[in-house]
């Protein structure tokens, strides 16, 4: 059997660390997890990387791998939300708890909130829509709100969530749109609003079992995926601010 090599989006670093531990303790083969950008990982799999399981931060990269005929089975694994964050302890948070913006009238509230936060020369920290999935969801949401044209020049698109969070946490940017899971882990930011899922394609982390050039699906990989999508996996996801997908 091929060694249990998992290619996972970098934002899943901690989830994967916990899951590996748990899986191993439960008697599974210790997985090796390579963490990098989903695009990088997808290209590598297409180029023949010996990965047995691919967990992408965006379905489109799984689609790319599937086009190359290397995917045996795809399963939805986790869901995430994108949130509007501000520096912890900033004036914006003192006005109240997380605003509920799920109603239709919420749109106007979000737009007003963003405009107010950015002020004259503030920038909105987002993942780079061109490369970072979180940024793509943010762009979609702002587009749905009808303000992307206006806001785009005021964004600070960054390569790395870590940097987006740091920008907000240190007040370099007065606001940012990041994954809820990332916001949860960063004490320096406060979540001002969870953006309604209807504004963007749902944030889903699909997992794909990889067949390397005709080789069978790895039993270890299937077992690990079962663990990830099982109750233990769900607990781990929640612990890190992600939602398991009910099937």
């Amino acid at each position: 059997d091929r060694p249990l090599l998992v290619f996972a989006a970098a934002s899943l670093a901690e989830v994967m660390a916990d899951a590996s531990d748990g899986f191993t303790r439960a008697g599974g083969t210790a997985p090796k997890v390579s963490l990098a950008g989903s695009g990088t990982l997808a290209r590598q799999i297409i180029a023949g990387a010996p990965a047995t399981l691919f967990i992408s931060a965006h379905p489109k990269w799984v689609a790319e791998v599937e086009k190359a005929g290397l995917v045996a089975e795809t399963r939805p694994y986790a869901a995430n939300r994108i949130v509007l964050v501000v520096p912890a302890g900033s004036a914006a948070t003192t006005s109240g708890a997380t605003t509920s913006v799920d109603g239709d009238d919420g749109d106007a509230a979000i737009i007003a909130m963003i405009d107010r936060l950015l002020g004259a020369d503030g920038r909105l920290a987002i993942g780079d829509p061109a490369s970072v999935p979180a940024g793509q969801y943010a762009r979609d949401a702002l587009t749905s709100l009808g303000i992307w044209q206006r806001v785009e020049p005021r964004t600070a698109p960054v390569e790395n969530v870590r940097v987006a969070l740091a920008l907000v946490a240190r007040g370099e940017a007065p606001a940012g749109i990041v994954y809820a899971s990332d916001a949860a882990a960063e004490p320096g930011v406060a979540v001002l609003a969870v953006l309604p899922e209807r504004l963007h394609a749902p944030v889903r982390y699909p997992a794909a079992l990889i067949t390397a050039g005709g080789a069978d699906v790895s039993a270890d990989a299937t077992a690990f995926l079962d663990y990830l999508t099982g109750p233990e996996g769900a607990k781990i996801l929640r612990r890190h601010g992600l939602e398991p997908i009910d099937r």
Binding site: G39, A125, D128, S131, A156, P157, E159, N160, V163, R170
Partner: protein, 250 residues
């Protein structure tokens, strides 16, 4: 932004042309700011005997040792609007790096530092101090002798450092994107634009094409630098003449 229409790069989109212009601007600014510093650092490293030299040496090498993202992150912490140095510069001179092309230039300069300093240092080490002694005997002050003898003699090394630095400026990605993010028209240099294209499925072709533009620019710079260097070396009587080898006569 620099007008690049004369380059006949019509086949590139406006965004790409912006990126190229920005890259050149960033590289030029970074090198202009970096060179005087690198010359001083190279000289100190070449001629000081103090053990403290090693501290400077380590600082100069740091950007090479650390992952580029770490360097960018540290730059962000220090030179961001809220950073210690950044806020100071902003207050004192209204100089802002965060999310500006100036920040891209700063990142490029920092990343290029080790590459620029080393050849300059080697050139200073190779410059014969006995020539400065001769100048002193002729009544010429040390600084003047440095400017008129050591510096001209070190020019090939300075040029070599400049070329390495220029190439690095074109290729710099990690520190730049981390420090000043990837804002089209403001901080999206050639390298960032290539990366952006590459991170979308199917972007390989355009990405490689744009990367080639960088290569072509670099070739131009290399040819220029080689030509200048060779003519300098020829004037010094040092041109790339191999140790005379037997040759069959006509």
């Amino acid at each position: 932004m620099t007008d690049l229409s004369w380059l006949g790069l019509g086949w590139l989109g406006a965004a790409e042309r912006d990126a190229i212009g920005l890259s050149l601007q960033v590289a030029a600014t970074a090198l202009a700011g970096l060179l005087p510093l690198a010359i001083v650092a190279g000289w100190v490293l070449a001629r000081w005997r103090s053990r403290a030299r090693i501290v400077l040496d380590v600082i100069v090498h740091l950007p090479l040792v650390m992952p580029p993202v770490v360097t960018g992150y540290l730059l962000l912490l220090a030179f961001g609007r809220k950073g210690a140095i950044g806020s100071l510069l902003d207050q004192l001179f209204g100089l802002v790096f965060a999310f500006r092309w100036t920040g891209a230039a700063l990142a490029a300069a920092v990343m290029a530092l080790p590459l620029v300093v080393r050849p300059i240092r080697l050139a200073f080490e190779a410059a014969d101090p006995r020539l400065n002694q001769a100048a002193a005997g002729l009544g010429v002050a040390p600084l003047r002798a440095f400017l008129t003898i050591t510096l001209p003699l070190a020019l090939p090394g300075i040029l070599a450092g400049t070329i390495l630095g220029f190439a690095k400026c074109l290729g710099e990605f990690g520190a730049t994107v981390t420090f000043v993010s990837n804002i089209p028209g403001e901080t999206r240099t050639l390298s960032l634009a290539v990366q952006t294209l590459l991170s979308a499925p199917g972007g390989d072709g355009p990405a490689l094409r744009l990367a080639m533009v960088g290569v072509v620019i670099a070739i131009g710079a290399l040819v220029l630098a080689e030509t200048v260097t060779q003519s300098m070396r020829r004037r010094l009587g040092l041109s790339a003449v191999p140790p005379s080898r037997p040759r069959r006569l006509a």
